[in-house]
């Protein structure tokens, strides 16, 4: 199909794994070597992700069979447009976060760099895998790494938030296991493509059990995606983490959203009956309430990191709602806008998390309110770190203020930046969708606009207090902290200017997503083997199979 050495698909998982493992062999004091190794590895991962995106763009999903076992028996990695895009997004975030951590944070505890690489490995694995149980394993890898990263730097706030975070996520993992094993019990397979194939022809008696399994799985993913009412752990955990950790966490809710999108399109979309509608309505309702909850939280927050955590909720709620819409009716244009919005909001949120630290380090008029908030929520103040003038950057405050402004405009969905394009695409498509009562559409439109408005009010307030409300001389910010923020902002501007090819890419992504036969045919062997599953009859041959590669 392409000239790509097929094994390259393994690279996004193997690179961080090997890097992290090698780092473990060295003493933690050799931080310079570790940071160098880590950055080289992340840059390689970006290069691989770019290459994989260009491969995925060419056509059908590319399947890598581990150990060359045939699909329903062996584990597969599946690369399509959606997973390639998520890979690129997470490795770009990884670079920004890692460089930021090099300024100071990686000195605050043990094994930061190894944990960071393992987090990337888990993320990349979750995006690539085509196997349900393998997905569980990669989820656990990324969660275990995230537990360590969240606690990085220690302190009572982090340990308290970490305790809740770990307890909630362990329980969610158990739900995942129940769901995965039920799916296996009903369909006799764990390969996602095979599940979709079997689910389409499942006998009537098994269907309720299968839907129960999907409900268990969704519960686990909705916890990860931070959907209301499963999201109360999220703001405390995200704001407690160190700034670069928070930036990385901003993509972790998107893993949940990604898996919901992937499975919903493959499995529920393939069912095509009344239950599909119920699932769509539940996802949509969860999304609506999540946006409203996040919006209220944004308006109530006094600290930038806390506000950014609530904006994470707004962002994942928006994408969830659109997934609900897309499941219920054909609304490819809306989903296109949502995927574009997912990418840019993740970048902007990561920039906000990174900004939250240099902006709060100031002891101007903001400090009094900070202390008040800290008292209210029972948070202790971080000890301020002195920045040596040699590493400080001149004019940093101006750059930070500009970066903050651009992130604000992106998240509020104001022109001329990418947020506007994403929201306009979603809103424009919402009115063209058929099969919904106008109140639902207006509810979506209203929430989308109001949440942007709330983001503008909340972030504007904090920006005014931080940048205009103080008479103090500009603070010292090291270059290493400004550079990654500028990098993320540069990516946002790039995505705004180059919106057209990106949106076209997303549109192709959605087209393929809505035709799960592409994914299924690419994964499963086309020649008829011995029927591996006694319970379900063979699926009828797909019409797309004949058409072949474009």
């Amino acid at each position: 199909m392409s000239t790509l050495p097929n094994h390259l698909i393994m690279a996004p998982i193997l690179l961080p794994f090997l890097t992290g493992a090698i780092m473990l062999l060295y003493d933690d004091r050799q931080r310079q070597a570790k940071i160098g190794l880590g950055i080289v590895s992340v840059i390689l991962q970006i290069a691989v992700a770019v290459e994989l995106v260009s491969v995925a763009k060419e056509g059908l999903p590319v399947v890598y069979r581990l150990g060359d076992w045939l699909a329903p028996f062996g584990i597969t990695l599946v690369l399509d447009r959606l997973s390639a895009m998520m890979l690129l997004l997470s490795s770009v975030l990884g670079l920004a976060s890692l460089v930021y951590a090099a300024a100071a944070w990686h000195r605050q505890g043990q094994n930061y760099h190894s944990l960071f690489q393992f987090l990337l490995m888990g993320l990349h694995g979750a995006f690539l895998t085509g196997d349900l149980f393998n997905l569980f394993v990669f989820f656990e890898v990324l969660l275990a790494a995230s537990y360590g990263l969240l606690l990085h730097g220690s302190g009572q706030t982090r340990v308290k938030a970490g305790l809740h975070y770990i307890a909630v996520n362990l329980t969610a993992s158990l739900f995942f296991l129940i769901g995965a094993s039920l799916v296996y019990g009903v369909t006799g397979t764990l390969n996602m493509a095979d599940i979709a194939r079997v689910a389409a022809v499942l006998p009537g008696g098994d269907r309720p059990l299968f839907y129960a399994a999907i409900a268990f799985l969704s519960l686990a993913f909705l916890v990860k995606a931070g959907s209301w009412p499963l999201c109360f752990w999220l703001p405390a955990a995200y704001m407690a983490g160190a700034a670069p950790v928070g930036a990385m966490f901003s993509i972790m809710t998107k893993v949940g959203v990604y898996v919901i999108l992937r499975l919903a399109m493959l499995v529920i979309g393939a069912g095509g009956d009344a239950e599909e509608g119920i699932a769509a309505e539940i996802i949509m309702a969860c999304g609506f309430v999540t946006i409203a909850f996040g919006m209220a939280g944004v308006l109530a927050s006094q600290l930038l990191a806390r506000m950014a955590s609530f904006l994470v909720l707004v962002s994942s709620g928006t994408v969830l709602t659109v997934i609900g819409f897309a499941l219920e009716v054909e609304s490819a244009a809306m989903l296109t806008g949502a995927l574009y919005y997912l990418a840019i909001s993740t970048l902007a949120l990561a920039a906000l998390f990174l900004l939250s630290e240099p902006m709060n380090r100031d002891d101007g008029g903001f400090a009094a309110m900070l202390a008040l908030t800290a008292e209210t929520y029972g948070f202790e103040e971080e000890e301020t770190r002195e920045v040596s003038p040699a590493r400080a950057m001149r004019g940093a405050t101006t750059l930070l203020a500009l970066s903050f402004l651009i992130s604000l405009l992106v998240l509020a969905g104001m022109p001329p930046f990418a947020g506007f394009i994403g929201k306009v695409t979603m809103l424009g498509a919402a009115f063209e969708v058929e099969g919904f009562s106008p109140p639902v559409i207006w509810c979506f439109v209203g929430l989308l606009i109001l949440s942007g408005f709330a983001a503008m009010i909340g972030l504007g307030r904090i920006g005014i207090q931080t940048f205009w409300g103080t008479d103090d001389p500009p603070q010292q910010v090291p270059v290493l902290e400004v550079a990654p923020i500028l990098f993320l902002i540069f990516m946002l501007i790039l995505l705004s200017i180059g919106a057209e090819p990106v949106v076209r890419y997303m549109a192709e992504t959605v087209t393929v997503l809505e035709l799960p036969d592409y994914y299924i045919d690419a994964t499963l062997p086309t020649n008829d083997l011995d029927e591996p599953n006694v319970e379900a009859p063979q699926a009828p041959p797909s019409p797309l199979m004949k058409r072949g590669a474009p």
Partner: protein, 114 residues
Amino acid sequence: MEVILSLAIGILCGSGVWLLLRPRTYQVIVGLCLLSYAVNLFIFSMGRLSPGAAPIMPRDGMIDPAQYADPLPQALVLTAIVISFATTALFLVVLTAARGMSGTDHVDGEEPRE
């Protein structure tokens, strides 16, 4: 056998959930352990119960697969046990740290006000 296994899973799961919702960290971790036992048994039972059947076929070729137990859930259970063991150990460390820092074993890090 089905009844006994279902009862065992149900009791483990029920006690696990009850303990998980308790306010003390030690109760939470014991609850998580019990829940993970219940889930492991559940995964195992998803491969259908077949007493006295081995999951591995002998070396000399195919024999009737119906006489053997499904090996996949057993492999899954092994993985799940290892992972839950590791995460429980990690949780235990966090729990001890929280106890040391806050001086209380309440999950919120402070005693509830009377």
